[in-house]
């Protein structure tokens, strides 16, 4: 094949020129992987959902054996895990995994036996270019390959697309200081990488691709050129064109959107993905993993990790089995621990600051960096210099965002497109007041996500509450109706009895009435002393007198 090398024709907004510190870890060839005593393989080493463990405690596993797979639908965002070496599963427990989010997930602990025996089913795929695209996707899915640049998006999901893809962009920029794992992998394994690119082109059914690489890696560019020239065209109908695009060394040239803009001149609109524009990006280490999976049948069980930074005697790039403890890794590189050291997974700009080195290496660990913590400077008030807006590669207004986050005005924060922020840390770096701007944006993002989750939950609770009230109402109504119905039924059934009862009732009532009227009559009879004539009154008085006299006589006798 013919190699084409060209300079990038476009550029992205902002960015920084940083000290590379890349020579530190480029002194030696990549050293082979050691077999640690125990391997901790987390079930989540990528973006998405954890894989499902398919081994039991006490089970013997062989190198490359699948130990966790995708249980659900093949389009779920998840990836399979494999045993990095042979040994015995001793535990499956919840452990912290390295990363920005400080999550903890189930991890499979493997006690290695030191024999490093391969699983017998690990065989190369014959005639890979005769495979259908779906078979190729399946092979990559089974190999558990994820994006190895840092984000860790499962690769098989980025291979066969519903929408037609026009351009493949391979990200070899490696713009963060200190990290050299990709550059050195290119220098040593360029041919395999180019083959991996050919497989991905075949899977995507397109014929051309760009490799974006910063111009501070002349050796890697040279190696790529030689590899392209030495490799034959794949035996497919289409001819492949692989173009190497040299980018000016400017952080963050390796950001997906920035790289696409620098190479194609196209800006990815807000809330859109590169695939919406017919562009797919893959990291260069991922293409190597793809080649490994297809040419040798090996799943993703080890990767190149840069171990570098302060207080490390032999900074270097190493092949590392996934699940190796970072502390052990640092020790093999002659690390002398100092009290105010800080371990970072990734680069100094976007890496995850870890509280200790007691974490396993995962699929997205490109670098283990040790840095002396800077003396904590308290941040000063914002002086509105606008330097942050000048360097922002996402064309945002970091200062405005900062004010809105401070006042917790999350609607405005979203209006100012906080979700376009790639958290590259350029604004932090240039801020003369040392305001931890990215920390503010991360806080705002997590707060917005949490509020959205709360909203969903409260909507659900409202629905349930309303339904409960409706149900209670309905029950009350139904009970009342049932009662009325039953009464009516009873009355109908005992129709004759009821009439007799009614007669009884009316008889009692009539009797009561009679008694009452008699009483009133009697009282009327007693009242016949009213309206008497004078004669009658005299007569009564005489009679009374006589009665009195008679009683007196009786008393005297």
């Amino acid at each position: 094949m013919k190699a084409i090398i060209e300079q990038a024709k476009h550029h992205f907004h902002g960015g920084l020129s940083l000290d590379g510190h890349k020579q530190l870890s480029m002194q030696h060839a990549i050293s082979a992987a050691l077999i640690p005593d125990t391997l901790t393989v987390p079930l989540l080493q990528h973006i998405g959902r954890p894989a499902t463990a398919i081994v039991k405690i006490g089970e013997q596993v062989l190198k490359g054996q699948c130990i966790a797979c995708i249980k659900d639908d093949k389009n779920t965002v998840t990836a399979a895990m494999h045993a990095p070496s042979s040994g015995k599963v001793v535990a499956i427990e919840h452990c912290a995994i390295p990363g920005m989010l400080k999550q903890s997930v189930d991890c499979i602990m493997i006690q290695t036996d030191g024999e490093d025996r391969w699983h017998p089913e690990i065989q190369p795929i014959a005639e890979p270019f005769n495979l259908t695209r779906d078979d190729l996707k399946q092979a990559i899915l089974e190999a558990g390959i994820v994006g190895m640049g840092g984000a860790g998006f499962p690769t098989h999901l980025k291979l066969v697309q519903e929408k037609p893809v026009e351009t493949l962009i391979i990200n070899a920029a490696e713009c963060e200081p200190y990290i050299t794992c990709d550059a050195q992998l290119i220098q040593e394994q360029a041919e395999k990488i180019i083959k991996g690119i050919q497989f991905i082109l075949h899977a995507l059914n397109i014929n051309h691709c760009f490799i974006g690489i910063e111009n501070n890696k002349p050796d890697a560019i040279q190696a790529l050129r030689q590899a392209i020239e030495s490799i034959e065209q794949p035996p497919t109908k289409q001819q492949c064109f692989i173009k190497i695009v040299q980018l000016p060394t400017r952080y963050p040239a390796g950001g997906e959107k920035q790289l696409i803009q620098a190479i194609t001149g196209k800006q990815i609109p807000i809330n859109k993905l590169p695939r919406d524009l017919g562009i797919i990006g893959h990291n260069i280490a991922t293409t190597f993993a793809v080649a490994n999976a297809i040419l040798e049948g090996k799943p993703l069980i080890e990767r190149v990790v840069t171990i570098t930074g302060d207080n490390i005697a032999q900074p270097q790039n190493k092949w590392v089995m996934l699940g190796t403890n970072m502390q052990q890794l640092l020790d093999t590189c002659g690390y002398q621990k100092k009290s105010n050291d800080e371990v970072i997974m990734g680069g100094p700009m976007m890496g995850a600051h870890l509280d200790s080195a007691d974490y396993p290496v995962i699929k997205t660990t490109n670098c283990v960096l040790v840095k002396t913590k800077p003396i904590q400077t308290t941040s000063l008030p914002c002086i509105r210099c606008g330097e942050c807006a000048r360097v922002c590669p996402a064309n945002l207004l970091p200062q405005q965002l900062y004010w809105f986050v401070r006042s917790k005005d999350f609607d405005r924060v979203q209006d100012y497109q906080i979700f376009s922020c790639i958290e590259c840390g350029c604004c932090d770096y240039v801020c003369p007041s040392h305001i931890p701007l990215v920390q503010f944006y991360r806080y705002a993002k997590s707060e917005i996500w949490n509020q959205e989750a709360d909203k969903e939950k409260s909507d659900h609770a409202r629905q349930r509450h309303e339904f409960r009230q409706l149900r209670i109402e309905r029950k009350k109504k139904e009970d009342a109706e049932r009662k009325a119905k039953k009464k009516a039924m009873l009355n109908k059934k005992q129709g004759i009895d009821t009439s007799a009862e009614d007669a009884k009732k009316s008889a009692i009532e009539a009797a009561l009435k009679r008694v009452k009227s008699r009483q009133t009559e009697q009282s009327a009879v007693a009242k016949n002393t009213d309206n008497l004539t004078e004669q009658q009154q005299q007569k009564i008085a005489e009679v009374e007198q006589r009665r009195k006299n008679k009683t007196r006589q009786n008393n005297n006798e």
Binding site: Q103, W449, N450, A453, R464, H465
Partner: protein, 186 residues
């Protein structure tokens, strides 16, 4: 003169009919502000605002009978949202109603539960499962943490535990002291 009066009266009648028709046809059944307020409330139905649920509280706010700072589960976020919606000044949470706390759910100690169903009747969102003289259990994902089931329990077998999603929640440290209700010390 007369033509003008007739023309204007006809117009008035025509528009009157049109408006009358619109009023009937597009009648809004409930007060839309109440719905908007209700949408911002956390729907725990806990009654800490002194109203018997979130919707009654929303109605009270709409009628200006209640203040916007009486919802402890919602906390500052709800107060800010309500203030924004109603064009009022935000104010700190009313301490009489309670303090904003991390989200919790309840858990029934199944060994102690006697199956009296009192908690089931108290639950505003049907999050408790069980029947008379049978063991009861809480569906944690449906529980809003209102704690209304705790007082009726005759054997005190209901305990408050942190909500599950609270543990897994991605939370980034607040990089600054809450500024809103305190004087900025810059």
């Amino acid at each position: 003169m007369l033509t003008a009066i007739i023309a204007l009266s006809l117009l008035a009648i025509a528009f009157g009919l049109l408006l009358g028709f619109a009023a009937v046809r597009y009648k809004v059944k409930s007060n839309p502000v109440v719905d908007q307020i209700d949408a911002l409330l956390p729907q725990t139905q806990c009654g800490q605002c002194t109203y018997p649920g979130c919707r009654p509280y929303a109605e009270a706010i709409a009628k200006e009978e209640a203040d916007i700072n009486q919802c402890p589960p919602g906390g500052e976020a709800t107060i800010l949202a309500l203030a924004d919606l109603l064009g009022k000044d935000p104010k700190p949470l009313n301490e009489k109603n309670g303090a904003h706390a991390e989200k919790t759910v309840v858990y029934i100690d199944e060994k102690v539960c006697i199956g009296c169903t009192l908690c089931i009747q108290a639950c505003p969102v049907d999050a408790i499962l069980g029947a008379a003289k049978q063991m009861h259990t809480v569906i944690a994902s449906e529980c809003t943490g209102c704690d209304l089931c705790i007082p009726p329990c005759p054997v005190d077998c209901i305990h408050v535990i942190p909500a599950v999603e609270e543990k897994d929640k991605v939370s980034v440290k607040v990089p600054f002291a809450p500024l809103l209700f305190t004087e900025p010390n810059a």
